[in-house]
Symmetry: C2
Subunit: 332 residues, 2 copies
């Protein structure tokens, strides 16, 4: 039995080392819960020890602009310029351009704020100049004062497609335009997805890989599908910890729970842990679901309060993740 | 002598018919003085009788967006949404996107306001959907309540290039980025420029073609170069009137006077009239330059106050142009 009771574990953790120095963390993250955990981790892990690999499977070209929704949410969150109410987009955003698009009969289903547009315009320009998405992201991080290393999972286009009963939809059309309501028959990830040298190197050097509480099928699978990230993680990383995106038998936000229900799978952290399967060495899930995940000899589990309602929650969960990872590293 | 003294002509014109009904006007126009005269004409010519063919030679793709600066100025002016102080862009404009571009290290040399961006985004989207620039412009006019017919000179890309002593520059890089300071060795217009069916039909049906007080080399030549606009005008149109962009031996704004000086040509309406040469049946130039244009048997000239400082000036000049055209039509 590797499941540690919450109380005992927390008692143990109060004696855990305060520093994370020297441990290389790589986080695989989508935009929502992923970005919130990344924000917490960035508060406690030295920037040189923290790399975030973001999902670019839902990138798309819209009205001529290259838009990377998850990368932007991660960037804005790390830069501290996110709209805290919505969790995406920029604080203090205005909507004059989109209002004008609407008035001229253009497509207004994807929210493009004026400040946010500056990101898409600049990214589109720099990509057209021949820069990689990795280099563009590095420039944005430098300009916005983001210190941890933020990497896209790929520099090439690796679009996730959503197969619905009525046919195939580009990701954002399903997710935003159709408000993720059409049933997902299957998530199609390109066979040709390749990661970058930078991302591959980061996971090769990683002591700990953290799979953020993002949608496993839509945010994490696209990253793992960017060859050879998954085999490197499986072969090289001593500690791989996933944080459950399911809390109290539901998703905090977004389509994870609906997808599981549509697929007749239990909306439970157990389903998520089973899905990641042998890739994981550790699994953190919510105290509200305590006991839901069957312990395995090769999977250490721990429960804690994983609901990130505010900034303090993010740091608290990040501390729990780091403590768990440190403990696993010591045991490995 | 076909030159009519200003006083006599104005006395005559007070008896001119108030209505312009039934006369088809086509205006060839760039963005600056061209748009101001178009604004005046739109106040007095019934919309069904007024077609404007705008220059698209300075269109360009910038940060992924298809931008049509002259078409936008014409559209905004006709829609009454222009920034009256600058003469271009939208009234009440904000600059959040461009500020963000600058902060991220993107190119900020071309002014892109937030409301204005809505136009470029929608145009880029609709063109990518397969619409022609003509159809996009028609949609914009309908949405903004513009009644006269606004047409681009071409649907295909017909980029004007500026040859400078240091090499060839795309138009906007010379005009905006370099603030039209590098000497123009030559203006390069594409041999392959073709106009649209709609623009060709408009000039075929035109009773009067008005060449607006725009830069002859940069705004009007590109339109005339869109085959077969010039031969249709030369062969078919009974009345072709140009309005001088030179006032009091200088340009009101923009590079016209500098270009003439660089080319050792007189900064005079006479130079402009000679440049358009036999295409013209009539020429209107400023009272400040009275006598500057030698009369020819085949060119009627008239002087008036052509300086459009405000909206009333625009209507007054438009009335003079229409009266002159009507007089020429009666004589033709």
């Amino acid at each position: 039995m590797n499941q540690i009771p919450f109380d005992k574990w927390h008692d143990h953790m109060t004696t855990a080392p305060e520093t994370t120095m020297g441990i290389n963390y790589v986080v695989l993250a989508g935009g929502g819960g992923g970005a919130r955990l990344v924000d917490g981790l960035a508060q406690i892990v030295p920037p040189d020890d923290l790399t975030i690999i973001g999902n670019t499977g839902d990138d798309f070209v819209h009205m001529g602009l290259h838009i990377s929704p998850d990368m932007d949410t991660l960037l804005y969150t790390l830069a501290g310029v996110t709209n805290q109410e919505t969790g995406w987009g920029r604080a203090g955003e205005t909507w004059h351009a989109l209002d004008a698009v609407r008035a001229l009969g253009g497509p207004d289903w994807f929210n493009l704020g004026d400040i946010d547009l500056g990101t898409h315009l600049t990214r589109t320009h720099l990509l057209a100049q021949g820069m990689t998405l990795t280099a563009v992201t590095a420039q944005f991080c430098a300009k916005l004062g983001v210190q941890p290393c933020l990497l896209p999972m790929a520099d090439s286009t690796v679009a996730t497609l959503i197969e619905t009963p009525d046919g195939m939809l580009p990701f954002q059309e399903w997710f935003v335009k159709e408000r993720w309501q059409p049933e997902v028959v299957r998530v199609h990830l390109p066979d040709t997805a390749r990661t970058t040298r930078q991302a591959a190197t980061a996971v090769e050097k990683a002591d700990v890989v953290i799979i953020a509480p993002s949608n496993p099928f839509l945010s994490i699978d696209p990253i793992l599908n960017a060859y050879p990230l998954q085999p490197i993680i499986a072969d090289n990383c001593p500690v791989v910890i996933a944080v459950s995106p399911i809390i109290g038998g539901d998703a905090v936000k977004g389509p994870t729970a609906k997808m599981l229900r549509d697929w007749n799978m239990a909306v439970s952290p157990a389903t998520v842990a089973a899905y990641y399967d042998e890739l994981l060495t550790g699994f953190i899930y919510d105290i509200r679901d305590a006991g839901a995940v069957p312990a395995r000899d090769d999977l250490m589990t721990v429960t804690t309060d994983t609901w990130m309602r505010n900034r303090a929650d993010r740091v608290r969960l990040a501390r729990d993740v780091v403590a768990f990872a440190t403990q696993q590293l010591e045991m490995s």
